[in-house]
């Protein structure tokens, strides 16, 4: 194995049903339902998925949802903005914890 991630592994996702088929069926049914058209369009959901894929840094998801976003009619500018949303939340999550640092520092400092 020369790398942990290989693009050809992505289509093998469904093989995860082997070993625990009932759980996999529940998961994949849920997954399909989540991405169906609802109050949000499929295009909007795909943009959210792309942003989350970057937040969780999943190469499989980035590959899959880059293609899916394009197929759903999004353009690269919209996709880039979506990633900035994930970046802002991820960075903001770090920064806001600075409040804890300040609280602790205040408590133990003269």
């Amino acid at each position: 194995m020369d790398t942990y991630y290989h693009p050809k592994d992505l289509p093998k996702f469904a093989e995860m049903s082997e070993g625990a088929p009932e759980l996999a069926e529940k998961f994949f049914d849920y997954y399909s339902a989540v991405f169906a058209e609802g109050e949000l369009t499929q295009r909007e959901k795909s943009l959210i998925a792309l942003a989350v894929a970057h937040a969780v840094q999943c190469p499989y998801c980035i590959d899959a949802y880059t293609q899916d976003c394009l197929e759903k009619g999004s353009n690269v500018n919209e996709m880039t903005e979506a990633i900035h949303v994930a970046t802002a939340i991820r960075g903001g999550a770090s920064l806001v914890h600075g409040v804890q640092m300040r609280n602790i520092a205040d408590k133990i400092s003269l």
């Binding site: 058209e37 369009t41 499929q42 295009r43 293609q67 394009l70 197929e71 759903k72 009619g73 353009n75 690269v76 500018n77 919209e78």
Partner: protein
């Protein structure tokens, strides 16, 4: 470059891609015999001259192409339309507007069919030199099918070339001003949306809904219907797929999305396609491969009877495009 122009070049499959089942074998595996139904549509390709060089064009159409339907061939096409009654006649190119005989074709074909369609790239139809063409089209109640791949300028122009988006929007507004695409008007304006790369189109219903909202909101543009088509791996698009190393994954993706439900409505089952020089094909895409109707090079002037139910259709692996997902209209 591996660009493929003739059927003689075929190996096991058109694209020489490992693990790609030939289209013919795939049909056999599904127990499908793809044959013709009643022929109801005449498609006329009036030439490969175009003012644009779109990167997804299956015919390599562009400003330097010399293959243009001449007066004699146009006359033979008009005679054909007089000999047989076609429910629909579909004029395409290149940019049909640039053929010097386009006004004759439109004027003489319109009375011979229920629906005359002109496929337009939008920038040619609204060009200054086309003075009077729009009014003729409106007067003859010619339906217009116009290409608009994206609502985003950069994405649209990545497919259709620089400085094409704003003129396309202007052309759509001009068509609306003539009555095209308006509610209660009999002037039909339909849009075609091809993906801007090596990926499949989205749901037609969802794209149409979004285009309808956005075109109206941003530019006040109205239209009747929107169709999504996958790009056919032929011509300039095939060259790009090869050069960008996308061919294998793209054709395998098309094949993986093979949907037998599309077969009933395939246009090749009810259409004959005439090339710029008057030869007959089962569809416009087959022109790119010189894949003749009935596997015989036959001129429009020789056609004594239309192909009918049960007749064979010339197919190859590019046909996976029209059978992927929800298919080609």
């Amino acid at each position: 470059m591996k660009q493929l122009h003739a059927v003689n070049n075929l190996c096991s499959n058109l694209y020489q891609v490992p693990n790609l089942e030939t289209f013919r074998n795939n049909l056999a595996n599904h127990g499908i015999d793809l044959t013709r139904k009643k022929c109801t549509t005449l498609q006329v390709n009036v030439g490969q001259l175009c003012n644009q060089s779109c990167r997804h064009c299956h015919l390599d159409a562009g400003p330097l192409r010399k293959e243009i339907m001449n007066e004699n061939t146009a006359s033979e096409v008009i005679k054909l339309a007089g000999r047989f009654r076609f429910e629909m006649i579909d004029i395409t190119g290149g940019a049909p507007e640039m053929n010097p005989h386009i006004t004759t074709l439109v004027s003489k074909l319109a009375p011979l069919t229920n629906t005359l369609i002109l496929r337009s790239n939008l920038t040619a139809i609204a060009a200054e030199k086309q003075n009077g063409l729009l009014e003729l089209l409106a007067g003859k109640r010619v339906a217009i099918i116009a290409s608009l791949p994206s609502l985003n300028e950069a994405q649209s122009e990545s497919q259709r070339g620089e400085n094409t988006f704003a003129p396309s929007i202007r052309a759509l507004r001009k068509l609306n001003a003539l009555g095209y695409g308006l509610p209660d008007s009999d002037l039909e304006l339909n849009l075609v949306c091809n993906p801007t790369g090596a990926f499949l189109p989205s749901s037609q219903e969802q794209v149409e809904k979004r285009f309808r909202q956005m075109l109206a909101r941003k530019w006040g543009i109205l239209f009747n219907n929107l169709y999504v088509f996958a790009n056919v791996p032929l011509g300039r698009f095939l060259t790009w797929l090869e050069d960008s190393d996308n061919l294998e994954s793209y054709i395998l993706k098309l094949a993986a999305h093979f949907n037998p439900c599309t077969l009933e409505g395939l246009m090749c089952r009810s259409l004959i396609s005439v090339s710029w020089d008057g030869y007959l094909f089962d569809c416009d895409f087959n022109q790119s491969l010189q894949l003749y109707m009935g596997n015989r090079r036959k001129h429009v002037s020789e056609l004594q009877s239309l192909p009918g139910p049960g007749d064979t259709i010339a197919v190859s692996e590019h046909c996976y495009t029209c059978t992927a997902g929800s298919g080609f209209t």
